[in-house]
Amino acid sequence: MPQSIVILISILFDGLAYAMVLFIIAVGLSITMGLMGFVNLAHGAFAMAGGYLVVTLTKSWGVPFLPSLVIAAVVIGIASIPFERLLYSKLYKATELDQVLLTIGLAFMTIAGYTYFYGPAPLTVPLPEFLTGQIDIGVRTVPSYRAFIIAVGAVLIAVLWYGFERTNLGAKIRAAVDNRRMAQSVGINVDRLFTLTFAVGSGLAALGGGLAIQTFGLTPSFAVLYLVFFLIIVSVGGLGSLKGTLIASIMLGVFDIGGKYLYSDAGGFFIYALTVLVLLIKPAGLYGRE
């Protein structure tokens, strides 16, 4: 097989694995921002908190990796509810500046707190044996952990798609993203809906944070380091759009990995240039509503 095809497949595979982590973290942000128009710069902090919880569970408490991921998602999801009820809900009608400031403040506090308890050095997590090796996907062998991430991502996409498009709850969320006032007037409790999606979104972020430990590296500054990527995905994909978030995640993942393979220095530049270009042409994102 020609070398270029192998490189291409590697880029696609690694990019897809990367994209799945980005998607899992960003999707909650997209839907909550679409629902309330709330600029949440602390979303990455929930992902980071999830990552550290997984580390603690596996290393200190001896819980296996997979259950740890699930526990982290549930715990962080539930823990996010008081934040939403006590802090975020006060600023739904405030300016985006206020929302930016509040959530930057929260992100700073989280980073500082985690640095204090866990230290600034990157942490790792013990993986089960079946995730540490390589598997053969026909054209080449790939790290099984990346294949695992892609599989988790695919399952989540299917579940989210089903929940979004086929359930009563999903219909309510779509209606509220589309037109909050209209949804309220037909009796949908948008506040409660938002609390729920916020919790689910934060839980997914925590799951993504757990998955990211072995690929991105986990440090407290994870909370803002990748925030720009999450925000790019959300704004380029279009607020509240599942499809947009997925496509933007894949674009970003594949382009970033591709850039690193092919043009190690210009890769980042390319991504940001593309972001600016997309937003200039479609300010509401690829699948956002104008």
Binding site: G105, F108, M109, T115, Y116, V228, Y272, V276, P283
Partner: protein, 341 residues
């Protein structure tokens, strides 16, 4: 006339009072001398801390430029560091690549190039609002950073521009070990910049910027060329931010791509918010206090410092949205009215 009830001030008197008030509003108050007295006093009280002092003055200038667009015009940007960076890199590359280290001319060139960057990016970006604008400003700053990283053969990348050599100021004054020369140089420049910014915010143009912040729909409805006004303000603010960046590069003879970081943009915003937006002196109070606290606390415990700043931000948003100066104002009113309001 309108004086229908006995308590009302007669319209004629009120009219005269209104003309008097609005015609004198722009005049200097005595207390406005205070920050300048402090800046001068610092020179004599802490002669060996002037390197730090220059950094405080630069931070004030940077925050002041942000106040013009954020505090007055209400433009929420997450990428203001872009212009600081353009200014710094203009100076750095002039000396390192073109062997031109003359401070005053390179400062002027840096200011103009930053203003041009503000004009061009503002022209495209300021049509947008909300999250889109946040993202576009953020991405623009990082775009410049990545461009610098791509051509690290020229910029030196994150290691900093190598071989910067800043010549003597006016061909005479060497920057001494304690940064005293630059402290005076920058203090004078800050004063001039401040006078210009103050003039602008009290002008009819400045009033229009406030109008855009207060209610942009109304501005459109009364025929205001909103985009043009925003671009003009953005250009000026970018020029000033660029000047601050240039002074940073000159005073430290050092700059890296880190200046374009999101953290730099966030930091200057935090300074301004803590001091108070839309009031000029908020930049002075916020930047000074931030830098002092950072200098002391960050050395003791970086985590404690970062946690504290985060907590302050949250508290400021929830309880003191008008910043420290707004808080002082409220307390002043409270005592004046004997706690009745």
């Amino acid at each position: 006339m309108a004086a229908s009830d006995a308590n009302a001030v007669p319209a004629v008197t009120m009219r005269a009072r209104a003309i008097e008030y609005i015609g004198k509003r722009h005049r200097f108050h005595v207390w406005e001398a205070l920050p300048w007295i402090l800046i001068a006093a610092a020179y004599f009280v802490f002669p060996d801390r002037m390197t730090f002092g220059t950094q405080v003055l630069i931070a004030i200038m940077f925050a002041l430029s942000l106040d013009l667009i954020l505090g007055y015009a209400g433009i929420v940007t997450l990428g203001h560091a872009a212009f600081f960076g353009v200014g710094a890199y203009t100076v750095a590359l002039l000396t390192a690549r073109l062997n031109w280290g003359e401070p005053v001319t390179s400062l002027i060139i840096a200011t103009l190039i930053s203003a041009a960057a503000g004009f061009i990016s503002g022209w495209f970006l300021l049509r947008y609002r909300g999250l889109t604008l946040l993202m576009l400003t953020l991405a623009t700053a990082i775009l410049l950073q990545e461009a610098g990283n791509y051509r690290s053969d020229i910029t030196g990348g994150y290691d900093g521009v190598p071989g910067m050599e800043i010549w003597k100021l006016f061909g005479v004054f060497e920057n001494d070990l304690y940064g005293r020369t630059y402290y005076i140089y920058i203090a004078v420049l800050l004063f001039l910049v401040f006078l210009v910014v103050r003039r602008i915010v009290y002008s009819p143009f400045g009033a229009a910027l406030t109008g855009i912040r207060e209610n942009v729909r109304r501005m459109h409805a009364i025929g205001s060329p909103v985009h043009r006004r925003l671009v003009a303000a953005y250009t000026i603010a970018a020029g000033i931010a660029g000047m601050a960046g240039a002074l940073f590069a000159q005073s430290t003879a050092y700059t890296t791509l880190g200046v374009f970081d999101f953290e730099s943009s966030a930091k200057v915003m935090v300074m301004l918010i803590l001091g108070g937006t839309g009031r000029l002196y908020g930049a002075f109070a916020g930047a000074t206090i931030y830098m002092l606290l950072e200098d002391h606390l960050a050395k003791l415990s970086p985590e404690f410092w970062q946690f504290g700043i985060g907590l302050l931000l949250v508290l400021a948003v929830l309880f003191a949205r008008r910043g420290l100066l707004g808080l002082i104002e409220d307390i002043g009113i409270y005592f004046k009215t004997g706690g009745k309001s």
